[in-house]
């Protein structure tokens, strides 16, 4: 799980970056492409266009050559001939520059033809010049040579001129062709643009879909989950992270949401439990109130019996009745409360007195307490149930020499008191003792029995870790319950 979460880090950011690079990259590529393409074609078109003026210049130069030659033959001026030759040379240069810039094979062929004819023209002009020189030296008869040779110049000139129309047409066609190709290719280019746009559009769309999916998917799950919670269904509300293409932030949100759902579920369960406990508590209070009715009747009865005893002069009965009433009152008044140890012992003595009257010499009760014993607070009715236990389970079956010793010792240094309730009754087997101890320690308020466990629990609740309670027993030898309580000195006064 942890590994999977790692790969989702910055998911949306990455996808957005990808998307952005695609858009910008496509745009940049297209721009470069368009610029290069139109640049190259512009250059081609321009260079083709430049050929026509050069071509025309060549023809005007050739015209000048012929008119200079005309002048030379008519006026017999050498300077005209020199001018004609010079002009012809520039015309040849024009032709050469044209040849360098032309790529088309047929135009090159045409240019070669023109070059050939220009060379022949030049040679023929030299022939005319020679004829003129001969004419100058030999006189009139040689003039026929001049006219003959000059006719040839004119013939070549006509041939050159005949080339003008088809050649200029070829050049224009070439320019037109470049233009046409450019137009045709630009349509193709637009097609390519559209295809590229479609491809990158599909890629971009997939990115957007990814991003959308990584956000709206979890949100939909959250909404679904919230609806489940609204209907109280916490089981279906937990979002499972099966998708591995969700955003990191979304993952966090879902995790928080899941934790929230679980806590809400826990709180609602606690609330339910509280309500249940509250109801139980109310029920038990009601029972308690009901139970308080009986003691009042009992006290009235006891008082009434005491009155009768007084009338009958039965002193012993009066004392017994008074002691009994005191015990009942104590247990009624202090049940669930704390008392001073001195008061607890006083009430224990009342109890012992009654039991002494009951068992007579069969049981001997011994209460020993060290001097300056601290009068600490303890939960009420701790000692009495233990003594009662000793009577019922310990010495109750013995017919003579039964003894119950209650010993209270005090360790001033360690601020500890220890209470020992010892009987010499029949005791317990090892297994029974273990069972009893186990029952004592696992005692809860729900248990119906009152006894060792109840005492142990109340002591634990009151003194927490400062109390120690142990039971020791041996079959045929008796049982000892030992309680050790640590106390805080400042709070305690001593028992008189």
């Amino acid at each position: 799980m942890e590994q999977a979460i790692q790969t989702k880090k910055n998911f949306t950011q990455k996808r957005l970056t990808y998307f952005f690079i695609l858009v910008v990259g496509t745009a940049v590529l297209m721009n470069i492409y368009t610029a290069l393409y139109s640049g190259i074609y512009y250059f081609r078109y321009q260079s083709a266009n430049r050929q026509i003026p050069v071509f025309r210049q060549y023809y005007s130069e050739i015209d000048q050559v012929i008119s200079s030659m005309d002048d030379y033959v008519v006026n017999e001026t050498d300077s005209d001939y020199e001018l004609a030759v010079a002009t012809l040379e520039t015309a040849q240069e024009s032709l050469n520059s044209l040849k360098d810039s032309v790529e088309d094979a047929l135009i090159t062929r045409e240019l070669l033809d023109l070059t050939d004819m220009t060379v022949i023209l030049k040679k023929q002009m030299e022939v005319v010049n020679d004829a003129m020189n001969l004419y100058h030296t030999t006189g009139k008869e040689a003039f026929e040579g001049v006219t003959d040779s000059y006719e040839k110049v004119t013939s070549v000139y006509t041939a050159i001129q005949d080339e003008y129309d088809p050649f200029s047409e070829m050049l224009l066609d070439d320019t037109e062709e470049i233009y046409q190709t450019m137009q045709k290719n630009s349509i193709l280019g637009i097609g390519v643009f559209i295809v590229v746009f479609l491809i990158s559009g599909v890629l971009m769309f997939s990115q957007i879909k990814y991003i959308h999916h990584s956000i709206s998917g979890p949100i939909n799950e959250l909404i679904h989950s919230a609806e489940e919670i609204q209907q109280g269904n916490f089981e279906g509300a937990v979002i499972s992270l099966k998708e591995n293409t969700i955003d990191e932030g979304m993952l966090l949100l879902i995790q928080v949401f899941n934790k929230m759902t679980e806590q809400l579920k826990l709180q609602i369960e606690t609330l339910k439990e509280n309500v249940r406990v509250q109801r139980q508590l109310q029920e038990s209070r009601f029972k308690e109130l009901q139970m308080q009715i009986n003691p009042h009747f009992m006290f009235n009865t006891l008082n009434m019996i005491a009155d009768f005893a007084y009338l009958e002069n039965a002193r012993q009965t009066i004392v017994l009745l008074n002691k009994t009433a005191k015990i009942f009152r104590f247990s009624l008044d202090f049940s669930g409360k704390t008392v001073n140890l001195s008061r607890e012992i006083e009430e224990l003595n009342n109890y012992i007195y009654i039991q002494q009257q009951r068992f007579g010499k069969r049981i001997r009760f011994l209460v020993k307490m060290e001097e300056d014993f601290p009068d600490i607070k303890i939960p009420a009715l701790i000692l009495q149930p233990l003594v009662e236990n000793s009577i019922t389970h310990g010495v109750g079956m013995l017919t003579s020499n039964a003894e119950i010793a209650i010993e209270l010792t005090h360790n001033q240094k360690e601020k500890k008191i220890s209470i020992l309730i010892q009987d010499n009754g029949e005791g317990m087997s090892q297994s029974k003792l273990e069972q009893v101890v186990k029952d004592m320690r696992s005692y809860t308020t729900q248990s119906a029995k009152i006894g060792l466990g109840n005492v142990y629990l109340r002591l634990k609740m009151f003194f927490e870790d400062h109390v120690l309670m142990e039971v020791k027993s041996k079959e045929g030898w008796g049982t000892t319950v030992m309680i050790e309580i640590g106390y805080d000195k400042e709070e305690v006064s001593c028992i008189d």
């Binding site: 690079i21 033809d113 006509t158 590229v196």
Partner: protein, 318 residues
């Protein structure tokens, strides 16, 4: 990141390929060692355009350059002038149209041949010029084929008329002879009149009117020349003479339309593309040692059955 690199790589590659494709120059540069020819021929008309195309195709295939120079039809003086101008050029061969009755043209051609430059005559031959090659329609066969077609269509029994430009033109004469030979095979087929239209519309119309008056029995006409073939149809429509069996010459648009409309029976088509192609091929063969040759290209008769095959071909060539 890997995805981005791959996508951008593919896009860049596509762009580069397209760019290079669009920028790539299909033209080949001029080859210095290539043979240079010149073709001095008549301008216009489908027949000559097809010859030009044949020449261009042969050039492309065999790596030669043939310059196309036009002169007006029947202007022999201009043709001679253009031919004479070739002396100023560095050439490996000349293609032109022959005319056996023009001594000056024959002389000019002979001059070129004597300079060591091979000459190929197309369309019309002229043996007197000492030309190296002749490439053209077998005109005798063309006339013969027309006679066969007409005989078939008229149940081998009809009076027939023939239109030529001028019987003194060698190709016209050959077609005439072929036609006569073809008709001679059938006893009932008679050639009653030969009209010399001289390439002129009015001349043709006048003579045709006279011929119809003189020979009302005429059932079929063989028009052995391209321009008269085109003019004949509309004129016959004017005369309301649309029940004649007509075989024309060359496959001009209007001629083909007449065939389609069942007005003309057919037309004799020359393989002009082949003529052009073969002319260049002959000149190339000269370089390899073949010094003289006559090449006759096939003629076919276009009828209603196969006229559709020629109509789209016409449009392509335009």
């Amino acid at each position: 990141m890997k995805h981005i690199m791959i996508s951008m790589g593919i896009l860049s590659f596509a762009f580069t390929v397209t760019f290079l494709y669009l920028i790539y120059e299909k033209e080949e540069p001029f080859r210095e060692d290539a043979k240079k020819y010149i073709c001095i021929a008549t301008e216009g008309m489908y027949y000559w355009n097809a010859i030009h195309e044949g020449i261009q195709a042969a050039d492309e295939e065999m790596g030669s350059y043939t310059k196309w120079v036009e002169f007006e039809r029947f202007d022999i003086d201009e043709q001679i002038r253009k031919l004479k101008q070739t002396q100023y050029l560095d050439l490996d061969g000349v293609i032109t149209v022959g005319e056996p009755y023009s001594d000056e043209l024959n002389q000019t051609i002979q001059d070129i041949v004597e300079r060591g430059i091979p000459v190929a005559l197309i369309d019309t031959d002229s043996k007197e010029s000492n030309r190296n090659y002749y490439i053209g329609t077998d005109n005798h066969q063309a006339g013969y084929l027309a006679a066969q077609e007409i005989a078939k269509a008229t149940d081998y029994d009809a009076d027939v008329m023939m239109i030529v430009s001028k019987l003194t033109h060698a190709n016209q004469n050959e077609r005439y002879e072929g036609f006569v030979d073809g008709l001679a095979e059938y006893e009932e087929m008679n050639l009653v009149s030969v009209i010399e239209a001289e390439g002129d519309k009015l001349t043709m119309q006048e003579q045709l009117m006279e011929a119809f008056l003189e020979f009302p029995s005429v059932e079929a006409i063989f028009c052995a020349e391209s321009s008269s073939t085109r003019r004949l149809g509309p004129f016959l429509q004017q005369l309301k003479k649309e029940d004649l069996t007509i075989i024309g010459f060359d496959n001009a648009d209007t001629t083909l339309e007449f065939i389609k409309d069942d007005f003309y029976l057919g037309t004799i088509a020359q393989s002009s593309y082949d003529i052009g192609y073969e002319a260049v091929a002959c000149l190339n063969r000269y370089q390899e040692g073949s010094k003289s040759q006559e090449v006759y290209t096939d003629v076919t008769c276009i009828t209603k059955e196969n006229v559709d095959n020629f109509l789209p071909l016409r449009k392509q060539s335009k």
